[in-house]
């Protein structure tokens, strides 16, 4: 399923990306900035019933489409379902640079990911709220050292200003192995897409 489109060396692949991190560190805001280039003061919970998607174009004629799963608040009481982690190719673990404890807890989320998600998952660590530099509690170097040690991509971001948001997702797009592209049901050869042909007349003659 790696390359559904291969015309003139253009390559397209889709990946499932999950967000993790403590509540209210700005996970949804980060994605809203990436997908819609907007910043919402309040969490908008009615967007879609599923997940957001956004594509990133890379230099070498590659296009990466992210299917981004937000926690929908289910992380708050540690109630994320196995479904959330399943077939995730990449993850963004978010902490808040103005909350020292939030980096510590993002380390727990990384461990959780390494335990529950597939091996080889690409993880990006995002120190969010970079616009609140004057309230910073987590030194950049401390987080970077941790990220290097744990093998994570690392960016400090601001969902408010947009700083480093695209850079974060683009870097993940570069790093995620193209051949591991997620086979979503509607793309999988053996899967059945319930939204296709639903109730329509059968193709061809059945006699």
């Amino acid at each position: 399923m790696a390359t559904p489109r291969t015309s003139s060396q253009e390559r397209f692949a889709q990946f499932k990306l999950v967000l993790l991190g403590e509540s209210f560190v700005g996970k949804s805001s980060l994605v809203t900035r990436f997908v819609k280039d907007e910043f919402l003061e309040q969490r908008e919970s009615t967007i879609g019933a599923a997940f957001l998607t956004q594509t990133v174009s890379l230099e070498d004629n590659k296009t990466v489409r992210f299917e981004i799963w937000d926690t929908a608040g289910q992380e708050r009481y540690k109630s994320l379902a196995p479904m959330y982690y399943r077939n995730a190719n990449c993850a963004v673990v978010v902490y808040d640079i103005t909350q020292a404890s939030s980096l510590e807890r993002s380390k727990a989320w990384v461990k959780e990911l390494q335990h529950r998600a597939a091996d080889g998952i690409i993880i990006g660590l995002a120190g969010n709220k970079l616009d609140l530099e004057d309230k910073r509690e987590v030194p950049t170097e401390e987080a970077r050292a941790y990220a290097e040690e744990a093998g994570l991509l690392f960016f400090e971001t601001s969902a408010l200003t947009g700083e480093n948001v695209l850079e974060l997702f683009t870097e993940i797009a570069r790093k995620v192995p193209f051949e591991n592209s997620t086979a979503r049901p509607r793309m999988s050869a053996k899967g059945v897409d319930l939204n296709k042909n639903g109730g329509t007349e059968a193709q061809g003659c059945n006699c």
Partner: protein, 566 residues
């Protein structure tokens, strides 16, 4: 009837609790739901999108409640737990001869398949929950008869090409199938049999033979016997016929990694997106119905303003006396095994799943109810490659049901060994095969010893897991008259106890049950999932959704036309 206006939609998601190690759970809600089974999970999503403030908890660490899917670390714990205390499961036995890679296995406590044309499938589309799931097709329904598995001929071409039926039988069968796809309109034909067993109707009105009746009623219709009332059986046979050719030449699909539990996770996620609050590992330890307050083992105290909805399995001894009894009285016996063969012989081309039905009286145990088996290979995501999981079940309770299941299992074992024996790469002539008294061929290992040395371990059927258990439900099997599904003290009671699982390997009856409870809470089910989802791919999707809607209205009926010349 109680009708209320729930907390306004704009409030959703705007609660900002402090960033704490263990944030306190919400202390109030409109509807408190305990148990993340399929009924409760759909209800949570429906209510959340309707605008109700929903708090949804489960005493277990995983989603699914009595329909959970377990890995091999969780399975032994579950067995111990339900043998110690459970209102739903009993008599659980697990046999696992050697350690396995736990994470590669998913054992479904209540496996179900999804008919391509069914209310659950429509709801998955409407709610967008299908997007979280992966579906695969299942074509082959086998019926066990005369010591072998016959593929059920259900499509026109199957009937045409069948070598086993005489032209007369073929004609009668086509006549019956044509009648069944529009049976509701033809009351004059079936009306006189409305309270009579379907076997009587099919014999007298269509002169069908036992073999065809077994296949139609028990395999295609998945009825537990031929004694099911005529309209019930007709409805179920039609369910299969209209599902064919909806997405392709298969009647059912199944979700990967597990059935109801996967749907539960999807609906719970949908509910969470809609604003419901979730907490696992929360056991109901106290209840004050007068003040509408529930207390949980973690110390949370939650007040509900409208209803407490609780599943049977979530009711602990501490609160049992305060909740109307639902007294589950019907039984389902389960036997689940994982074998070290891929069982491709049973599956249709490109698929990895099949249903096998043992009709009433087909087993030497003299079974009076069918035994149904769903078999999944590795493509289901439930077992690693080269293995297969067989889920056998029967609505026959007690030791009798267990015997039926064991007997069916031995037939499946004999069958798969025999069928895969045909693939032997070395020469075997007739004199190498001896037959057991029951007619099963056995290779004479003395003569073949040398050439089979490398072969035997691969072909011998080994049980990697064998699990049996008994399940109780308050939903009666098909033979019994339909009782009210949600047990409660009427609409005024602040507590609703949901029924257990339908005695079914499909999702039929579940959406209906949820809608009833939904109507009980909000007054009517008019706005059940009446949500205008903002969507990323809205143009593309709205178009398709409309197409689907239109089709639903058309009530597509497959072509079993008059052009049949036999």
């Amino acid at each position: 009837m109680s009708s209320f206006s729930a907390s306004s939609v704009s409030k959703r998601g705007s609660i900002v609790p402090p960033l704490a190690e263990d944030p306190a759970f919400v202390d109030s809600c409109d509807v408190l739901i305990c148990g993340t089974g399929i009924v409760e999970s759909i209800l949570a999503a429906a209510l959340a999108w309707q605008g109700s403030n929903v708090a949804h908890l489960d005493r277990n660490s995983i989603y699914g409640d009595s329909s959970a899917v377990l890995n091999l670390d969780e399975l032994p714990r579950w067995v111990d737990e339900v043998n110690y205390e459970s209102a739903v499961f009993s008599n659980a036995k697990l046999y696992q001869p050697r350690p396995l890679d736990s994470k590669k296995y998913f054992v479904d406590l209540t496996p179900r398949v999804l008919f391509a044309k069914s209310d659950m499938l429509q709801l998955l589309l409407k709610s967008r929950v299908y997007k979280y799931l992966e579906f695969r097709s299942l074509t082959n329904f086998h019926t066990y008869e005369n010591d072998s598995f016959e593929k059920v001929p259900a499509s026109k071409q199957d009937i045409f090409t069948s070598q086993q039926m005489s032209p007369v039988v073929k004609r009668q069968l086509m006549k019956f199938i044509k009648f069944t796809v529009e049976w509701e309109r033809l009351y004059n034909v079936w009306g006189p049999y409305r309270d009579k067993p379907v076997v009587e109707f099919m014999t007298k009105e269509f002169q069908l033979e036992q073999t065809q009746i077994d296949e139609l009623v028990q395999s295609i219709g998945l009825c537990s016997s031929n004694d099911v009332a005529t309209p019930v059986a007709l409805h179920r046979i039609k369910r299969y016929l209209v599902s064919l050719e909806t997405y392709g030449a298969f009647p059912v699909v199944y979700s990967m990694y597990g059935s109801a539990s996967e749907l539960s996770q999807g609906f719970c996620r949908s509910a969470a997106v809609g604003g419901a609050v979730y907490k696992l590992n929360a056991t109901l330890t106290g209840l004050d119905v007068d003040s509408k307050t529930a207390i949980f083992n973690d110390g949370s105290k939650v007040r509900w303003s409208e209803k407490l909805v609780v599943s049977e399995a979530q009711i602990t001894e501490q609160v049992r006396s305060k909740i109307p009894s639902s007294n589950p009285e019907y039984q389902i016996n389960h036997l689940t095994v994982i074998v070290n063969m891929d069982c491709k012989e049973w599956f249709a081309e490109g698929e990895d799943a099949a249903i096998i039905v043992f009709p009433v009286g087909s087993l030497s145990s003299g079974n009076t109810k069918t035994v149904q088996a769903i078999c999944y290979g590795a493509e289901s995501g439930q077992v690693p490659p080269g293995q297969c999981i067989w889920y056998l079940s029967t609505v026959q309770g007690g030791a009798t049901g267990q015997r039926d299941l064991e007997e069916a299992l031995s037939k499946m074992e004999a069958s798969i060994l025999r069928e895969s024996t045909e693939d032997f790469e070395f020469q075997v002539d007739q004199s190498d095969v001896i037959f057991t008294p029951s007619g099963d061929p056995v290779l004479s290992s003395v003569k073949l010893g040398k050439s089979m040395k490398d072969f035997v371990p691969e072909k011998k059927l080994t049980y990697l897991i064998k699990l049996s258990y008994n399940q109780k439900t308050s939903i009666p099997p098909l033979e019994e008259s339909i009782k009210d599904v949600a047990k409660n003290d009427g609409d005024e009671s602040p507590v609703i106890v949901t029924s257990g699982a339908p005695t079914e390997i499909t999702y039929d009856g579940i959406v209906e049950q949820v809608k009833k409870i939904y109507a009980q809470i909000v007054g009517s089910d008019d706005d059940f999932f009446d949500v205008d989802f903002e969507d990323d791919e809205e143009d593309e999707l709205t178009g398709m959704a409309k197409q689907n809607k239109k089709q639903e209205d058309d009530d597509h009926v497959p072509d079993f036309g008059d052009d049949m010349e036999l």
